[in-house]
Symmetry: C2
Subunit: 147 residues, 2 copies
């Protein structure tokens, strides 16, 4: 993906299709063991008895893999200086090996009051299944960007 | 930690000291390679030149490790059914090997409208350094809990 050169090249409403990725089952289990060791993320039988009805990725994993996908796309490689916060929701859980597509949309952009070389952007990440468009992550993240 | 038996045992304002944890440097690098491969999370020289001034953990890692610490504490092991979303902020970055303490506070609690067997709780996670109380994660998470 072509890297954006400056926050000046972004404007509210601009949207990027970042393509697809999956969370392989082995990685779902590995992530859950490390960071979210709850039965419904680790064991098929326990997951069937849970509100999810089957084994699903930790929402932390869905979120982390989404950011990993964004960073690897290279889109923000020349301008991303760091992040300040995020509002996350998981409207539906993500099962292993289910292809999802990420869309990034610029929701807001302003100059930094304290650092004139920086802009502050609100970027929305929407991740939905390729199968039927079920949204599995909807996030609004604050990014500090090079102007 | 003694597990809470029912959402009925929680009430707004109740707070739990969940003790300390650290993000070891090797784990900081491993997490960043997988989920947030940006130079300021991977390379000391690049990090010194960044707005952070030194290598710091990915905020995703701080958040994931916090949830991992909460789950491993066992506090919610008998009642946590899943999560619906989270508002995250990282007021300061977390360097590797810096001990932090997690405090969990019940901010709100209501019955689920759609599922009478469930309660919906807003739980606040505050993670601060032991050294001087710098807050490195402040999150409000929605948890579905067994009543």
């Amino acid at each position: 993906m072509t890297a954006i050169r400056s926050a000046h090249d972004l404007s509210p409403g601009l949207s990027f299709d970042l393509g697809t990725f999956v969370l392989p089952r082995a990685e779902v289990l590995d992530f859950a063991r490390r960071y979210d060791p709850q039965p419904f993320h680790l064991d098929d039988d326990a997951a069937r008895a849970s509100i999810f009805g089957r084994l699903v990725a930790s929402g932390l994993h869905t979120y982390s893999a989404t950011v990993g996908h964004l960073i690897r796309s290279g889109l923000l490689a020349e301008i991303n200086l760091g992040g300040g916060g995020c509002e996350l929701s998981w409207p539906a859980p993500l099962p292993p090996d289910e292809p999802v597509r990420m869309t990034l949309t610029v929701e807001a952009l302003r100059h930094s009051r304290s650092r004139p070389e920086m802009a502050v952007a609100t970027l929305r990440y929407v991740v939905a299944t390729e199968r039927n468009g079920t949204v599995v992550l909807d996030a609004r993240a604050t990014h500090f960007l090079r102007r």
